[in-house]
């Protein structure tokens, strides 16, 4: 992968709050990262860690009941935060597209699937005539590996399997030639065999089109297969960002280590090291490292000193004041740490 000098996306100090009954609760705190052209960045963490909120900010989108308190999201140098609804609509579904988790919920049940894609293209004015848009829809269906695309465009969503629906959604996302695809757990609801096919499809489409992808997931196996770099989120903050191979070979942050150790493996052994203990209690976050209450390495200072990402010297960044003392978890075998990429 060659990386262009200027990043496609630059998120700087993003801070988002949610309104809960009578007060604001912080869900994303001071998150900064970059995404380069042609790159796939994985955003991983557990439910409620703020990964989806962060990902949706790339559309300049604040979910209902939330506010962007601080920070900037620059897409090709232009800050999306504070753009008007009309300006954002031109970007959403155009230069930046979403592949959501639940394909069935994103398709109109009473409209033929081909028609839905034609509409999306006409909305963004990327197609010439109506006939061109229809022709292009059939081509897109073929590209995403749907069988008999000519007849498939005439189907209704309920006539398709989950994997086929996800392909239709992917075709819709690609219809306007986006520069960035945001994928929100796109394979979580699918069978492993279907998931495997969709992952290969995405890898191929990305290589062909040179798109960037932000892949939101809690599945570390998926990350290992499709991402160039990985950003790990915990309780609204980034705790570690590293190239995929580096992250799996040498996880630095105790949370990343615990996450990797919690994943059951086909070998029947886990990844080595200590598994995560306890659960995240959002109402009891310390002012320092938010992971400290669950961390086996925490000292007093960890609870009070705020941690920010700092370079490890091996290609990654980690937000832990003790990462050098902790070292790497032991007991891992080469077969389990070697990444495909």
């Amino acid at each position: 992968m060659t990386v262009a000098a200027a990043p496609l996306v630059e998120v700087a100090g993003l801070t988002v709050d949610f309104y809960d009954r009578d007060h604001w609760v912080n869900v994303v705190n001071d998150v900064s990262f970059t995404l380069f052209a042609g790159e796939t960045l994985g955003l991983v963490g557990e439910s409620g860690c703020g990964k989806t909120t962060t990902a949706y900010s790339l559309f300049g989108y604040a979910r209902p009941g939330s506010r962007v308190r601080d920070g900037a999201v620059r897409f090709e140098g232009r800050n999306l935060i504070g753009l008007s609804a009309r300006e954002l609509r031109a970007i959403r579904g155009g230069a930046v597209c979403l592949v959501p988790q639940n394909p069935a919920g994103s398709l109109t049940p009473s409209m033929r699937v081909g028609r839905q894609i034609v509409e999306a293209m006409e909305e963004h004015g990327v197609s010439g005539s109506h006939r061109d848009a229809e022709q292009r829809t059939v081509e897109l269906f073929a590209q995403v590996g749907l069988p008999r695309p000519q007849t498939m465009v005439e189907r209704y969503p309920h006539e398709l399997s989950g994997g086929q629906q996800q392909r239709v959604i992917t075709a819709m996302a690609l219809a306007c030639d986006p520069k960035l695809l945001v994928l929100d757990e796109p394979t979580t609801a699918l069978d492993v065999t279907t998931q495997s096919r969709i992952l290969r499809l995405l890898a191929r489409l990305q290589a062909e089109r040179g798109m960037s992808m932000l892949y939101v997931t809690h599945n570390l196996g998926v990350v290992a297969q499709i991402c160039d770099r990985v950003a790990v989120m915990y309780a609204g903050e980034l705790v570690e960002v590293a190239p995929t191979e580096e992250l799996f070979r040498r996880p630095r942050h105790p949370y990343t280590q615990g996450l990797l150790a919690s994943v059951p493996r086909l070998s029947g052994q886990n990844g080595g090291g200590a598994r995560l203990r306890g659960l995240l209690h959002r109402e009891e976050l310390p002012p320092g490292c938010r992971f400290a209450p669950r961390c086996g390495f925490a000292e007093e200072a960890c609870f009070t000193e705020r941690q920010v990402l700092a370079a490890t010297g091996t290609g990654g960044e980690v937000a832990c004041r003790r990462w050098e003392d902790i070292g790497e978890p032991r007991g891992r075998t080469p077969a389990e740490t070697g990444s495909r990429r």
Binding site: V192, S196, R204, F248
Partner: protein, 344 residues
Amino acid sequence: MTAPLLELQRLECAYGGRSAGPAGRSVVHDVSFCLAAGETLALVGESGSGKTTIARSIAGLLVPRSGQILFEGHDIGMAAERRPRDLLREIQFVFQNPDSSLNPHRRIAYAIGRPLEYFFGLSGKARDRRIAELLDDVHLDLGYMRRYPSQLSGGERQRVAIARALAAEPKLMLCDEIVSALDVSVQAAILDLLRELQEKRRMAFLFIAHDLAVVRWLAHRVVVLYRGRMMEAGTAADTFSPPVHPYTEMLLHSVPELGVEPFVGTEAETAVDPLADHDAGCPFAPLCPRRIGTVCDEELPAWSSAGGAHALRCHIPAAELAELQSFPWNRPEEPPVREEVTSA
């Protein structure tokens, strides 16, 4: 030698009730297996493979078309409403989605208290004490009694669903994809909990999952289903090392895992109609990367032994499959994951 806790003999299930008639299409064909007390058996396969249908028929939510379901030697192939109360108590079902199996308008204490009243006639202080014990079993504190399901996270709700099933003190728990929707750390905690409960109470689990790594972690034995038919059965160690059925092989290669090459097959959606009937031949033949010829399309393969209790249904001899297959996670010196329970 004692009778197994659960025994399925040539189970055949269809939807559509009597109106479907004898010509109605079966979704489960000729399924037979045993489950011993204290054992975990995993049913593995993709959506549409019949896993949930089998669990539903064991629970009495679906009356099988033919074949027998024996529980402690007695035929229980009848609907739940015709089952004696003790039998209802002994077999409990935990569903995939705790959001839809817990009443959103009732507090957690009600959800767990109901089986205590119904099966054991507990009320008042005695019931509350037992609810507290059950919450403790699933590592939730007392404060949860007064809460509503909407105030709990997905993992907490699933623990409540497990506590409710445990309240009945079952001998067999049917677990339908109970950890699929959960985060890895919560998933790990629930899997540990199940193992702990099994050791403490000698409970048997029928565990339905599509995540093979989870199955590897938890199951003693595995049954692999494809389109309602058993394709392979063996210990967990058997089904994760060669020889395995080509379908099992495809499933294993589809699991995204570090250091595991993705399954080399078509990336395109297959045009095979999932609802088409395959009366003759191996049901997996249309997709099988190891298909050897017309024999696969025309003849349903017979069971062949792959050593011990490991059996698979393929026209390719097991010894030949063993030579063709290799998995990166199988190393000769690999210690057994956990002790296998020797079933009767």
